[in-house]
């Protein structure tokens, strides 16, 4: 048995847009292929408009591919009828950038986490579902009494923990993490990265980690795919990509990482002047 969880082949997503000069098409994703194996993290890194988020959405059919295939555990989900999408969205879960807007403000934390358990009939009976909610809260490092609270009573970091618990609730085969750190305070980002890695080790999770933050992607990912203009220009082990980038775009992206220390900043400036004696 193959341990490939997700296999994307020649994926295209095109959106029609109207402009002053008439209708045209935007190729958000323009022929993307990759595989993610069980228990690994594939990092998808790119800038805004690169198509990285659209690629993530296509895995759940939250946008419909224009061409190509997406296989989850070997099954081509691009041809699945609407009624099977609910099952797909149990198999592939998503954690969004801003937990504030992805959680329903009127629902308690407990009922938000319980929803996928109920919808997908993963536990029978109220008490079994509650027990599962408490187990999930504990796994993401929230106190049991958080179940009765509402999103506005939590900090940003705690809300993102709820977003992760909700994603875990469906017992998914793959979790798409779309910029899960971007809306968090810097002092909280490391907590969430540690939590995601810990959960992966404990539960054998498989991640697609989508981010513009190269250092975070390097930290989180086994392999990295660099995306720009709807295409993947380079894929490889994280260390390999960062130490020996082959594509010009990857090099430009790496060069733009802010220096770690003032000394490194000066070194880079001296280097730049050396290379272009203007």
């Amino acid at each position: 048995m193959s341990d490939v969880v997700a296999a994307v082949e020649d994926l295209h997503v095109r959106f029609p847009v109207r402009t002053a000069s008439g209708k045209r098409e935007v190729r958000a994703v323009d022929g993307v292929s990759f595989e993610i194996t069980h228990g690994e993290t594939l990092g998808l890194v790119g800038e805004s408009g690169s198509g990285k988020s659209t690629t993530g959405l296509a895995l759940l059919r939250l946008v419909n591919p224009s061409a190509g295939t997406v296989r989850i555990l070997g099954e081509d989900v691009t041809s699945w009828p609407r009624r099977r999408l609910r099952a797909l969205r149990r198999q592939v879960a998503m954690v969004f950038q801003d937990p504030q807007s992805s959680l329903d403000p009127r629902h308690s934390i407990g009922s938000s986490i319980e929803e996928p358990i109920r919808v997908h009939r993963l536990r029978d009976g109220t008490s079994a579902r509650r027990a599962r909610v408490h187990e999930l809260l504990e796994q993401v490092g929230l106190p049991a009494d958080a179940a009765a609270r509402h999103p506005h009573e939590l900090s940003g970091g705690q809300r993102q923990r709820v977003g992760i618990a909700r994603a875990l609730a469906g017992e998914p085969d793959l979790i798409v993490l779309d910029e899960p750190l971007s809306s968090l305070d810097v002092s909280v980002q490391a907590q969430i990265m540690n939590l995601l890695r810990q959960l992966q080790d404990d539960l054998g999770l498989t991640y697609l980690f989508i981010s513009h933050d190269l250092a975070a992607v390097a930290h989180m990912s086994d392999r990295v795919a660099v995306m720009t203009s709807g295409r993947i220009v380079e894929t490889g082990p994280a260390v390999e990509i960062y130490e020996h980038p082959r594509h010009d775009y990857t090099r430009a992206l790496l060069a733009a990482i802010p220096p770690d220390t003032p000394a490194e900043a000066r070194g880079r400036r001296a280097n730049a002047e050396h290379r272009s004696p203007a």
């Binding site: 805004s48 002092s187 980002q189 990265m193 933050d213 250092a215 992206l253 220390t261 003032p262 900043a265």
Partner: protein
Amino acid sequence: MTEPVFSVRDLRVSVRTRRGLASIVNGVDLTVDPGRTLAIVGESGSGKSMTMLAATGLTPPGVDVDGSVRLLGTDLRTMRDRQLRAFRGRHVGFVFQDPLSSLNPLMTVGRQIGEAYQLLQGRSRADARRRSIELLDQVGIPEPEQRVDSYPHHFSGGMQQRVMIAMALACEPELIIADEATTALDVTIQAQVIDLVTQLQAKLGTSVIWITHDLSVVAGLADTVAVMYGGRIVEQAPVDELFERPVHPYTRALLAARPRIGDRSPLAAIPGSPPSPLQPPPGCAFYPRCSVRADARCATELPPLAPVGPGHLARTFYAGVADAVPGGSVS
């Protein structure tokens, strides 16, 4: 000794909310020397943005501001509104996070860039247009003669931020205040905008206050860094000193928590989340999250901002036992 361009003394800002009085800034002192860059680093709720808005008289109604602020030797806090607007417009340029919400979508970028120049310096419309073209060129926008008549939506996010910088420079201000100016930009564009600002600064001798949540962007651009937490400066130092010998447990923890490329071991995460301005902790604001807690007074007494090295101040009782591990873990 040179006269500072900008100085703030004991600035305090509070806001009345339905849930009580929120003290957002609790006594901040800042000084910016000519041609230098001061970076103010803090997370959301640290008071970093409110400090600058209050100091420059840009707070909305309902916000109480106290303290003294001098720009080029003139006291801003005693000025009348009209006078303040003109003085600020002439001497301070602002660059905010989101250029699209700061630019008027119905006005060409040329008119927007030249507007202050025309109004505040009494120039003609033709002069203002020439100045706009010159500024667009200076911030690296290609074909400035054509682009001067374009509207903001014709520009990409990075180019819009260049337009904002051109606008900030129009009246040749002595001070530029950049508040999260690169936060909404892609990393490659961020690097370009930082380069542009540092180059222009070297050329024009402008002072810069760079406000950011991201400690890593300041390494390459600041002379001095002030770290804010819970409405106060908790550490201030020359940039090298801050990165090499951070003293405050918060600064040390922030530096240690950064992911490093090539190292996938668990990060030294800081537990908890930043304090609420509605319920500030009684002692050191970082106490509830601190792994050091070096002194019995930490929980109950506010540490003073005291010298710990050359030009280096820290608001902690821990300073006396600092062991200077660069970016090392504090545990």
